[in-house]
Symmetry: D2
């Protein structure tokens, strides 16, 4: 069944730019042909997709597998997390390499090791947590040799990952010089720290304290700051996990003025609200602790709306799964609850249900926000993110008339809970093909550790197009330096 030759017949093939009824023929891991009425021999596995959508596999731009964080490590490693992803129709993800004691090289090597067991394709972003000449030099190596084209800066997590404006400016300049995309986790870390102290002083030690200590205004602040500093440096910016109206509106404002800013909502922010954090059961509430926090009802709908019209561009998950035992580390102090929620398996279904079934977007838009724009932004389109001849055979078949239901009992993550527990909806990923092999069919996974490839992400994506010209035009517009005579008349 996991033959290297597959024909998908009769489905509606959807790319971000167009949909049409056609057959898709796959061989040796690649899409060979996309056209009506393809005829093949007996050695070909034929999948009937009549009445269904044949789409590029999802690409999750934001995950944390095998992530050591807050004194523990996420439940899902590169095998279990990816297996879950495949079961949910996601065929590639980009994970965040965390430097080891500030060393990018050591961090990269650690993640190379962790990812050996990969069962689907993946790429890496890299976090920058300190600044010196070594880091600066390592950034070059990462971009020019290691396949990294994006660097993330944490404006929060004071005392741990957080960097200040000084480093942010240096980092942005370096990114620009390398054609690498600057990313930010945007919350004001100093204020969050203050907010946390305040909550503890008020005796608010439970999960609701997490939300209260870092309100949306602090996300809006940091987003505004990062955007304006990126504008000042004139380099594109990618804002990860946009969780609030406050942050979204800053992105919208920048885009209206022509600035190249990408906003990534995550599925938890799109479909959940913060009422769970007030649940009287600690573990139920703790499950929903992530940063920036899931916001009050209203933010979710506003993010959906912005996503529907391209104000925000692509959907991630920030998949960072901890189980109940780990979450219980913060039983007496919300500051010790490991931050993170699941989503890598659920994203494709929830986005379909929330955005397409609700009538907010078209199916082509769905492909764009779950796959194509991610491939374009990280510069691997149309190898990924498309159903085109020549593209990698990462494909899903989604049945719009079938339905899904989410539960920790049936999910493939190793976590014992699921923040989307009990959620049902229309649209079901019935088949996932990754790298040309059928890995998910009839609710069964067939995945092999080590079968996933590391995908190098080249620098200078489309956002960098024209930056040199724009800069030259800007400089020419300054009418400076003014030529001045030595002797002053005043």
């Amino acid at each position: 069944s996991s033959s290297s030759k597959i024909l998908i017949k009769g489905g509606t093939v959807v790319n971000a730019h167009h949909q049409e009824v056609a057959d898709v023929y796959v061989e040796n891991g690649f899409i060979v042909a996309v056209k009506p009425h393809i005829h093949v021999g007996d050695d070909v596995t034929v999948l009937d997709a009549t009445g269904k959508f044949v789409m590029p596999g999802g690409i999750d731009p934001h995950t944390h597998l095998a992530f050591e964080f807050m004194g523990t490590e996420t439940m899902d490693d590169f095998f279990t997390g990816q297996a879950a992803a495949l079961a949910g129709g996601t065929t590639m993800h980009i994970d965040f390499v965390i430097p080891v004691d500030g060393s990018l090289t050591a961090g990269f090597e650690a993640y190379e090791k962790k990812s050996k067991k990969a069962c689907m394709d993946f790429g890496f972003h890299m976090a920058i947590t300190k600044w010196d000449e070594v880091v600066s030099k390592e950034m070059e190596i990462m971009v020019q040799e290691k396949g990294i084209n994006s660097f993330k800066f944490f404006m929060a997590y004071k005392g741990a990952l957080m960097i200040n404006d000084d480093l942010l400016l240096e980092g942005f300049k370096k990114c620009k010089s390398l054609g690498a995309l600057a990313m930010v986790h945007a919350e004001n870390g100093d204020a969050v720290y203050e907010g946390q102290k305040r909550m503890i002083e008020l005796g608010i030690t439970g999960p609701e304290g997490h939300a209260l200590s870092r309100p949306a205004v602090l996300e809006g602040e940091a987003t505004a700051r990062a955007i304006r500093l990126a504008s000042f440096i004139n380099t594109p910016l990618y804002v990860v996990h946009v969780m609030s109206i406050d942050a979204m509106e800053e992105i919208a404002k920048a885009r209206i003025s022509g600035q190249k800013v990408i906003g990534e909502p995550v599925v938890s922010g799109l479909v959940l609200n913060d009422s769970w954090l007030w649940d009287s059961d600690f573990l139920t509430a703790a499950r929903f602790v992530m940063s920036p926090p899931i916001r009050a009802a209203g933010h979710d709908k506003a993010l959906q709306a912005a996503l529907s019209t391209g104000v925000l561009q692509l959907v991630g998950t920030d998949h960072c799964a901890f189980n109940s035992k780990q979450k219980a580390l913060g039983i007496d102090d919300f500051r010790k609850i490991p931050n993170g929620v699941n989503g890598i398996e659920e994203r494709m279904h929830l986005v379909w249900d929330t955005m397409v079934e609700s009538g907010q977007i078209s199916v082509t838009d769905y492909v764009r926000i779950t796959s194509t724009d991610c491939a374009r932004i990280f510069n691997i389109y149309p190898r990924k993110g498309a159903i085109l001849a020549g593209s990698d055979a990462d494909i899903i078949i989604l049945n719009p008339n079938s339905s899904f239901e989410i539960s920790a009992k049936s999910h493939h993550s190793r976590s014992d809970t699921n923040v989307f527990e009990g959620r049902r909806g229309k649209g079901k990923v019935e088949v996932t093909i990754a790298g040309g092999r059928i890995v998910w069919q009839n609710d069964e996974l067939k995945v092999v550790p080590g079968s996933g490839k590391y995908i190098k992400l080249p620098p200078y994506n489309y956002l960098f197009s024209g930056i040199d010209k724009a800069e030259a035009n800007y400089l020419a517009s300054l009418k400076a330096p003014v030529k001045r005579t030595i002797i002053s008349k005043a």
Copy 2:
């Protein structure tokens, strides 16, 4: 030379979703293949496009050829206007049918006649200038039989084309029911009328009075009104000729909230400013009279910025060419100056220079805003707007290292002036292929009256995707009607 078989070799083939070096093979008016290293026989005309961009021909969404307006008729008819278009790299346009005494049928027939001499493909929008059951019925016929999928409502031109909110609401409802796109010319016509009177009373009878009588605030007002009424009816909206920050910001605001609104800047609004209207030579000033007016410097840059990030989507021209003699009708009263400027020939060059050469957008974006998005919005993609196997062979070859210069002396419009006179820039359309034939090469036009086809535009474009579901969800959310007992407790 205008063989039916053409091979374009070695160029960078650009679609809105991707660009790559490839050959393009054309036969019988269609693109047959797009791939590297196509080998062909001797009967094929081979064009070397090495170092050049091979792109879909431009589609101009907004023109007025052979338009009877303000007591005169535009200089360019369907032959001369289209010839000019082809010389500038535009291979299709959509013109506005004006009803005859309110009759859509009569209007359509008149435009069928006018367009007999077409030398390139074209489609029609239809204006709605009054409302009754006949008009309502004719709209159905236009959509279902005649290939019209968009209707334009004039919120200005009091006493002539202008309609009121009542009609706008009826029209929007009808459009929605037919899957047709509602379009608006957005200026507050009552206020414009008042402004005109005021200017005359102030003794301001020259072209500067045109700008002063209808400031941007009136465009912003009408744009806001049309958007909110469209939201109220829940139907997509297309705002033609967005000329001001005021209007653009209303569109941006609506899009942030998830509303489906399309904004069309025109090339005159993108690259000119209103200083010309103050020129001391009447005819020079009068040349720039169009409505809404070309705005003060600042609006142009802001519109460019919004266009660069997708806040506005596609570029038109509102090509509506009058010569000096016609413009002179308003020598004593700006209200009698025929409204309109040229652009159909200049659009592709000016957008390239202003947007791509300036570094504001990528080449793929260029294709999107000059061709693909127009094809998608008017529902003929990928027949038009793409360089894909199967698409119509409407193709341009643009040399980014060549340059253009605009002058009435050399342009192909029949008008004796050009609002872009003297403008130079980089990037030159060296070859235009329309319907599979080379019509522009070596600065020579080879066009044949009657060779252009009328392209029917089908209803229910992508903006209508999900509208039914969204509406059903909305109705379900109302919690109404409330069930009430007959006897009241109060």
Copy 3:
């Protein structure tokens, strides 16, 4: 007890610009002295205000007493409505004269008659419901002879009071020429009409249909339109009953750009939300029907916030009381429910509780938004709206440590219901002095029909200050008309 000489001792005397502990001495209807330690003879009634606030009586800028509307007449006439007002600490109101068959003169005479039984001071606004030379001339008479300095235009109530943009522009111009303030009821009447039809078609005939048929977007639209047209005419604008974020944000935006726009929230909009309209008891729900409708929760808080910082300026009530029998006229069709809620008696208490007790504003701000700014806008400050020597003796004593509770059982309106039923809060008006007489004390009213005076409101309030200069500067800035030679060079 209702002596003509009163000394209020030891209270905190509050004006909008300052508060201080002082005594207030009143004689013959006027405030004679405001200073510490006033000593008086035995013939003076002495009120101890120690620990209490002595403030100008409230002025309600928006009421409808004895108003014939929707086939019935409000329960409260000039006597009962004013008596209720006095019991709640309001000592003056401005009512809307409605023309009779378009005649301002006839309307004015009718209201003169109705107001004969007045027991407190009052002024008049005048509605304009049609346009011709007679109306234009009558406006002059009203302003120059009759004491009217504001005219209201209804952008809703299609087929009844509604006017179109044409009339609005004419009206604004006339107002400007007379130094009279233009006011608008801002909802898009055409769209409301459409919305009403739609609700009926959907079978939604109950009070919730009222809210659903005229959503906030229609209030935002009309507010934006009125503001921009007023800007175009360059005359100040007063927006009555600002009920939504949509309208408020338009006012804020205009003010940021320097436009003279006044926004009046009403107490029902500040403290209620639309959930009542979904009440399963018809009469309970119908009680809350007013236009624009009371909005969803969230609008109330946003209006409070805007009021707290001066984005909105003063609070009205739109008091327009109908009893249950009248409300029942719409039992089968919400369109027939007489529009209107009470508030004239409750305003002062609810604003205190909602704005001062909540910590949003200071006591001086309270005086400003309930009294002083109304007096300034309608040009009778410091005769009204101040506790200054020489001002009319319209005074309240409010005990911040006492409390109030609202109920139809105890209120003084003739209506049998109260939209604020059951509401309690801190702060109680213990004494009301109107025209120098104690009319409310120890929860007892002492009012005399006919004791109220008609207060003429003079034109050219402070908002008109500088309008001529600004206009002259604007005209000078036009650089028009351009001087042009007869012979053109083109």
Copy 4:
């Protein structure tokens, strides 16, 4: 002539809340009576103010006299600067005490010494430039004993005065606890530093580099940040020298949402633009160097508009005068040009001309923005900022029909240049009375060193009104801590 008894007859007496024709009688430094037709004896100096405005003397909230900065000291000390102020109708100012090596006490003592020669009343703000327990304790002493009620935090001047977010949060909390007003100089200092380096690298070493190195986006950023952090701490904020649309719009946005933020434009920002910085004469250009920089044309008008409607509240000067020799310190490097412009003498005239003569505001507004609101914000109203019986006799007589002209030749500052050189306008301060003495009349100054008093500014101004209640309401709204059982169900 400088008798202690003065009668000002027949003028229009203007307070922020009201204007009326009245006489003003002054004795022993205080205003004794304000009413029509005051009759006095022969020992009283009588000034005829018929046809003129009698107004509270200006209060400049933002000055730097005898300020040691950037290696030099301002030209104007407490005597010459105040003399200039009095000649221009300003009778009080509030200067910034700069700590000495971080010590508030030492700083205060230094300024006590400097101000010994004062010839008019003055108060102090205090800058906070580092943070530790000593500083925190000194803040208490300053507020409780020394008469300081405002503390300023510099977000720019990296390596010198600049503080980071951490300190800002601590400072805001301390201010809140003391009832003291937090003030910010809002520019992103890290980015400014980066911008300066960039300009030098580009070879732009002249004054234009000053503007280019710190664009408006950096002022907008810091303003947004300070506002949101103040919101997070829930304490009022005062933004000094609002120079740009970017900053103003952040203030407007905050105020719309109910936040207590005060915005202070300065006269240079209101009436100048940055074109001077491109002047080919170094000293001419250098004269205009201040921070944040004077902005491009357009910002000035927008700030005026916002000021006219109360979006911004009061006007300062940031008077910080350096002469040509001092400015020449930066001949080779704009970073060494001492930052600062004059204004203390010109403010009253320029605000009159720009705001009143232009028709943008009324005369009462003029009093409010030049005097009353400053007195209210710094909590000394109505002692200052009013023409009321009991107020200090700080009074000006302004003749609206006279005119002024500004020149370094005639001004009273010790600086050899004037950024407003050559500016003329209508409205002239003909008489200044300070502390009950006529100090400016017939273009002559009569001032005595040491005659000025230090005015203690008490904490808890009106902006603090209700803060405790609001905070209590906020805490009550949190529904936290959630009561949780020990044993979790998950």
